[in-house]
Amino acid sequence: MHSFGYRANALLTFAVTILAFMCAIASLSDNLNSPSPSAEIQILNINWFQKQTHGNDEVSLTMNISADLQSLFTWNTKQLFIFVAAEYETPSNALNQVSVWDAIIPSKEHAKFWIHTSNKYRFVDQGNNLRGKEFNLTLHWHVMPKTGKMFADKLVMPGYRLPKEYR
């Protein structure tokens, strides 16, 4: 502590170390949050359902997605990344997950929403197994923090079925 430079260096190092601890505490405080999200997806229409030139089935859907994810936001949340995946089983794959829509929710105010949309990404099967297929639509979310650990969870909504014949 005998010179200006020595004291300035010691102070800066200690301040940055303490900042690291503060960020760790902020991240740990996220564990205290017990969220209660809710969501609902309605398939309004199957726009078309074809077998592509390469032999793979493809579906185009229009959905109504409504959700209340406000309880997932904490003081240490930067944004929420959500996506909807269609999940089903085929003879060749035990589990298929196809992402059909996603969004970034930047703040708590935007977390309670309702959207009418067609699928943002193509719903294509590996093969032609989709006729009459029963599938789940699962809403996944990733809570991205300002500092620290990211949490991810999901909500499964079962009971959707594709038509038996191509349209």
């Binding site: 502590m1 005998h2 200006f4 004291r7 300035a8 010691a10 102070l11 200690f14 301040a15 303490i18 900042l19 601890f21 503060m22 505490i25 902020a26 405080s29 904490t74 003081w75 240490n76 300002k146």
Partner: protein
Amino acid sequence: MDWQGQKLAEQLMQIMLLAFAVVAVATGYVIGSFQMMIMIYAGGVVLTTLITVPNWPFFNCNPLNWLDPTEAQKHPKPQQSVVSKKKSTKKVVPYRITLSDSPLSLSSEDDIMFLEIG
């Protein structure tokens, strides 16, 4: 700064930074604003820097007793009485020497010697 002042500066810095950090985290959590936590802590770091880093007078309350100047004068450093060995411009002047002087460059012409100075 004296020794006591240095210790005070170090302790003050650590206590102040920790205190501001605790206040910042608590306030940020209760209000629900990460931004506020960072602002309070940054303000605390600046304040701590202003108080502990510059050499304020209150850090020098127990000054060290350095040796008195009159003591030093009683034991002066020895004067230099020889020619300096620098290779700058050399002047040659006549100089009469006795044998008890320190070595000089000599030219052997009668009893007139030449002294290189400079």
